[in-house]
Amino acid sequence: MAEQPQTGSLKSRTAIVVVFETFRNELDEHNDRRERLIKNSRDVTNLSKKVIFLLHRIMTEDEPTPKPNNDRASRAAAKGREKLKEVQNLFASIRGEVEGDRFWRYQRNVSPGLQEYIEALSFAHYLDTGALISFNQVQQSLSDEHGVPYFPLTLEDYLLGLSDLTGELMRYAISAISQRGGRTIAREVCTFVRSCRADFETLTPYYKELRKKQAVTSQSLQKIEDATYAIAVRTSEYDLPPEMLDDVVAMVSGS
């Protein structure tokens, strides 16, 4: 091509077409990358959902010889974290795609999977520690062995992922109630979700999406409160300590 489109404004059709061809390549490359990231995000979502089910499963399954709930919880968390390594590998694999200023260009495409991952990770973390995973801890989990992040974690993804956690905790609390020792779990979760809701409340002005999810969190909290209420009402009627009540029921129902 004899034309030198760079040296001045474009006077001929050929020159214009040559320049627009570079635009085409740019746009095509962008769209292809976007597609790859969307697919990656779908994979992340699916794997993370499975981890959440795994955690629930371990926390509700029968144990031959009942051990303290803490043991079970750390075992669940360990297994969950193990599985989440696969997800972390998926994030590592897109590292090159979202390098430098590109991350913010594709943030919306990475976000859905990322939030589901944070939901799963924070669930495992809660089971293990009884605490909310911190922003830095999540960012750390998304970093290589030298602590260099695959990409920057956004506050919004962090908060929205945590907001979904409260829904899973509600499920966890409700199913715990029918188990031995479940009352304590329900009460702990109630306190924890209550404090989550309070923490998020101060942050809702900043994110519209968080405001919507906060409504769901409030509903979840109410469901947990209703459940702990039912426990309280029941136990108040009898003058026995809670552990003994569990034993009586176990004896009768033969489980």
Binding site: F53, T60, R171, S178, A230
Partner: protein, 222 residues
Amino acid sequence: MDSENLENINQMLEQDAELREKIKDQVTEFDKKTRVMTGLLNKIHSTPTNQLPALLDSVQPVLYSCSDVTAEIADLVPANQFWRWKDTWCNSLRNAVFVATLIEFLRSESLMTIQQVSDILGIQPSWKDRFVLTAEDYLHGVISLVNELSRLAVNAVTMGDFEQPIKISNFVKDIFAGFSMLNLKNDTLRRRYDSLKYDMKKIEEVVYDVSLRKLAPSTRDA
């Protein structure tokens, strides 16, 4: 469009429309049967335990007669088109699963398998691309069963049967253990599975009340 193509299309459309009509008629039939059965079974909540067998016996023939309707439908559905039409009858089918598994539980305290339900509804292995009982439909029916049992646990106590809730409790816990094996998507099944937890909680409360009031025979002997 050239006329051959257009004719072709119109023919396909008419065949589909006709088929849809015919299937719908059979589904109406199926629906009537399940309505009759659930109407009868609604009486378990006011029938003393010792009179249950008679009640169940009255439902059984209707349940067996469902195989007529499944055969009619399987006959209508073209090869390989099971998934195209199944939404039409899946409500009726889930209700039939509910009925079958409820009867079985009340008779033997055990969970009828998907294969057993299939057999009772007369579903043939050779229909596999036209009429099948899918895992999803079976699971929906089982969830309806648990919903109903939580209500029965309450009413059994009212009628003075203090053992029923305990049987139900053990049975439902087993089923719940099964369900927790599944990885579900955010769909109806997931929502209904979540509701199971509330049923389980309600049943637990009944067992609790009964145990603590030492009404159950096992504690009376303890």
